[in-house]
Structure formats: C-alpha cells, structure tokens
C-alpha cells in the first residue's frame, strides 16, 4: 500500500509537469490551430536557464535562489515563445500545416543548438537540499519535491482560471477557442490574443523546464522532447483548448505512466500511448474539448 501511495503521488507530480507543458499547447492549438512542435524547446530553454542561474549567478543553493530561477526560467520560456510567434508563426496565418511544419523545424534547430552549446551529456542541476527531504504519509515516504510540482501546477491552474474568467483577454480567448471568425466579426483583432497565448504557454513551459531539472536531476538537449510527446498525449486526451481538461488528463497520464512502469518497465509508456489512440478513436474531441479543428 505504501508503495502505491508513493507511486501515485510521484505520478501526480509528473502529471503536474505534463500539465505545465500541455496547458500552453492546448491553448495554442485551441485558439490558433497551431500544433506547436517547438513547445518542448521552450521547456528545455527554461531548464538550461535554471542551470545557468543556479550554477553561475546565484549558486548558493538557497530556496530563494531556486524560486528566482523558476521565475527566470518562466520568463525565458515566454520570451522564446513570443519570438517564435512574432518571427515565424505570424507570417503563416491560417496556413496550419505550414505552421506546424515550421515548429517542427524550429524544434530541430533548437535541440541541435542546445547540443552544440551545451553538449550531449546532461548538466547536473542540484536543487536546494530542502527538496531532498521526504514527507511521511501513513506508512509511505514521499519526496517533498513532488508537492512542489503539484503546488506550482495548481497555482498556474488557478491563475489561468482567474485570467479566463475575469479579464477581457480571457474572454476573448474563451470565445476564440470556440469560434475565432465570429470574434473578429465583433471587431476584435484576435492576433493580439495569439501573442498573449504564446507568452503564457511559453512561461508555463519554461517553468515546467525549471522543475523538470529537479525531477530529472539535470538538463540535457532532449529534455523537452521527452516531455513533449506525453504533453501532446495529455492535450489530446484532455481536449484541445480546455485547460481544466488538460489538468485532469495530466493526472491520468502521469499516474498511469508511473504506476504501470513500476511493475513492468516501459509498459506504462506503452499503455499511455495506446490510451491516446483509444481516445482519438472513441472521442476525438477529448474529455472536455471544445474544438473540432
């Protein structure tokens, strides 16, 4: 039973990381119809930023430095995302296949750039020692870091909810996900929302990257790519354009993957992938999806 609790919470924590990456993917696809294959590169950028910050700028291993590195990682991811939208995506308006292809190219370029700059071997990132502690739940011991991931993800989910419900841009995004043409027919320039959605998506991905360095104890050039496939699966299962759906799906994917992988190494990955195929065939719009692009 103890092992189940530990696995479940670890899976939940992994799901939290998937959520951070997937939420941006979901909004970008839901609002803009862009399948962003470079989203993993945003995560990796945030991860490398964290590495650099905690080893060169504030290498004191303190919690406050770590917290700052999270913020910076988010900003790095956001900047990278906005640059992508402004330099590449914007010029391919409504050419959805070409937009997706361009992000494939960008992902390739980014990964090889990371490879060229930082080398193939993972760079170690040591989190503050407090994050090595474990917490006792019943008979089980669970790493404290898992709760950090979950906490950050919950914060992001909350911020997203507030933004969507109480701001005008949130209103525009919610409407745009459902019917983009009609939003323009109300006199609103949706393209501003595009940049915004890339910003928040990139921020969440960068943040996820920073946390991923703790989860994976380091960063390598393909860190984001490894997360990207599962983030895609999460988005499809949860439903394109629905952040709450993504959250639910992230928990499902993360816990399933970790639990099954424990008993048969690799089978969890396989099961999750098959789950994707199943959802696509039975309910293509996902759990809470609104878009049928």
């Amino acid at each position: 039973m103890e092992i189940f609790i530990t696995l479940f919470i670890t899976g939940f924590g992994l799901g939290a990381l998937y959520f951070l990456v997937a939420s941006g993917l979901s909004l970008i696809y839901g609002l803009m119809g862009v399948l962003n294959f470079a989203h993993g590169a945003f995560l990796t950028a945030g991860a490398y930023a964290t590495w650099y910050f905690t080893t060169s700028i504030r290498a004191d291993g303190s919690l406050s430095s770590y917290a700052m590195s999270l913020l910076i990682a988010g900003l790095v991811g956001a900047l990278f995302a906005v640059a992508t939208e402004q330099i590449l995506i914007k010029y391919l308006y409504d050419r959805h296949i070409d937009q997706a292809l361009v992000t494939v190219g960008l992902g390739l370029v980014a990964t090889s750039a990371y490879l060229g700059w930082f080398g193939t071997d993972p760079l170690i990132v040591l989190p503050p020692t407090q994050l090595y502690n474990t917490v006792q739940i019943g008979e089980a011991f669970v790493g404290v870091d898992r709760f950090l991931y979950i906490g950050v993800a919950v914060l992001v989910l909350l911020a997203n909810f507030l933004m969507m419900r109480y701001t005008r841009i949130g209103l525009i995004i919610r409407a745009g996900v459902e019917n983009r043409a009609m939003v323009t027919a109300l006199g609103i320039d949706v393209r501003k929302a595009f940049t915004f959605v890339f910003f928040i998506g990139g921020f969440a991905a960068g943040l996820g990257g920073a946390l991923a360095t703790t989860y994976a104890s380091g960063v390598g050039p393909t860190l984001g790519d490894a997360f990207l496939i599962y983030a895609f699966i999460t988005v499809v299962i949860g439903g394109m354009g629905s952040v709450p759906g993504t959250a639910i799906a992230a928990v499902i994917v993360g816990t399933t993957q970790v639990l099954v992988n424990y008993y048969v190494q690799g089978l969890g990955d396989f099961v999750v992938v098959m789950l994707l195929a199943l959802v696509l065939l039975v309910r293509p719009q996902g759990l809470l999806g609104k878009v049928a692009h």
Partner: protein
C-alpha cells in the same frame, strides 16, 4: 439618396465555386433594405463578403470609405454590425459575457438592449449554450445593437422562430433602423413588407432586381423572383 453601402462588381469564389459573379447594388442610408432571393443564390455570402469573412474582389464602399481591402475586425470597427445566419453566439460564455465581448463604444447601449429583450436581463448569468433558439437569436441581435453602427447587416434573424419571437425581433429591428442603416436578408416576406423600404433581389450570384416591397404583392413577380407564392403567408 445617400448611399450607405455600394457594391461594384464583387466576385467571390469559394473552393472552386464561383458564388458571387459580379454583384452590384446600392443601399440607401437610414432605412431598411431587404436582400431577397431563393436559397443558395448568394445572399449570405454577400453579407459575409462585405465584412470580409470570405475572400472577395471588387469594390465595397461604406458611405465614402472603401472597405474591400480591410480585415474583418477593421470592417467592424469602421462601423459595421453583423448578425450572422445561425446566430453564432458563444455557447460556453454567459449571456452577459456574450454581450460584453461585443462592446466597442465607450458607452454601450445596454438600456435599449434590455428594454427590447427583458429576457436577456433576466438570464444574464446563464450559459448561452443552454438558451432556447429564440433566446440565442435575441443575444445575436442584441450584440449588434449595443454599439453605434453606420450599417447593420442582418442574416435571416427570424429563421425558425415562433411568431411571437418574430414580432420581438421585428420590433427590435425597427428601433435599430431609427439610428442606422440596415441590410436585411430574409425569407419572411411579411416582415420585409412591414419594415423594409427597399428590396434587392438576387439570383445565381448576381442582382436581378432592385425595387420596393409593394412589388411583392404581385404574385407573378413574387413567384418569378423568389419561387414562392407572394401575398401573405
């Protein structure tokens, strides 16, 4: 006559189908003009081409301003309101959110809207997707009445509505016509006869007649132009 809207040789091709084949007409300012014709002749496409929701070539003038090159949101901001066929309200937003999204002016006219459609005030917190068809239509029309417009494009607002609701919509359009110009696509001929001053008839992607609603009294005319028996329904 002041021309609120002038179309010259407007052509629209969608996926290989040449839907509008050189549309020419003028819309008089300050009154309601009906745009009539059988199903499939291109009436909705004409409205959509004016706001730029379909790619179009040709000249489209809003009063003296050429708008054929503008993007949709720019056309709307130039002072055009659009009530699409099939309403296209946002089902996941509440009634109030649907209205708020449509706000453009500093002082949107909620008073008029709630006076015309008290139901909407009552249900402002309700998710629009759970409204009845008639109530959704009210939201669609209300959206367009919130702002001051130079031209209001309305596409079959009474389609599928019960007679009582048809009257409400007609009342609303009459009120709106006092302050703006309306181009109204409709199949409901009594409604046209009641509120329209002019009519334009289309067939097979072009305009075939421009005149007045009284002409619809002539059954021959009605049948020839619209394929329906004229007079009262």
């Amino acid at each position: 006559m002041t021309k609120a809207l002038t179309l010259s040789d407007v052509n629209v091709t969608i996926r290989g189908s040449h839907i509008l084949q050189g549309v020419n007409f003028e819309v008089q300012a300050g009154v309601v003009t009906g745009l009539l014709g059988r199903n499939g002749v291109g009436k909705s496409t004409t409205l959509r081409s004016i706001v730029g929701l379909v790619p179009r070539v040709g000249s489209i003038k809003l009063f003296d301003q050429e708008i054929s090159g503008l993007k949709t949101h720019e056309v709307i901001r130039a002072g055009v309101g659009f009530v699409p066929e099939d309403r296209e309200i946002f089902s996941t937003l509440t009634v109030l959110e649907n209205l708020k999204l449509a706000e453009r002016d500093k002082d949107p006219d909620y008073d008029t809207v709630y006076n015309l459609f008290p139901e909407l005030l009552k249900r402002k917190g309700q998710r629009a997707g759970t409204l009845s068809g008639g109530q959704q239509q009210m939201v669609a029309v209300a959206r367009a009445l919130l702002n001051k417009t130079k031209l209001l494009l309305v596409d079959e607002p009474t389609k599928g509505l019960a007679p009582k609701l048809v009257t409400e919509v007609a009342d609303a359009l009459e009120v709106a016509a006092q302050a703006t110009t309306i181009l109204l696509v409709e199949q409901n001929l009594p409604l046209i006869k009641r509120i329209a001053k002019n009519i334009i008839v289309m067939d097979q992607g072009v305009v075939v007649h421009a005149g007045v609603p009284a002409e619809l009294e002539n059954p021959e005319f009605a049948k020839q132009m619209l394929g329906v028996s004229g007079g009262s329904h």
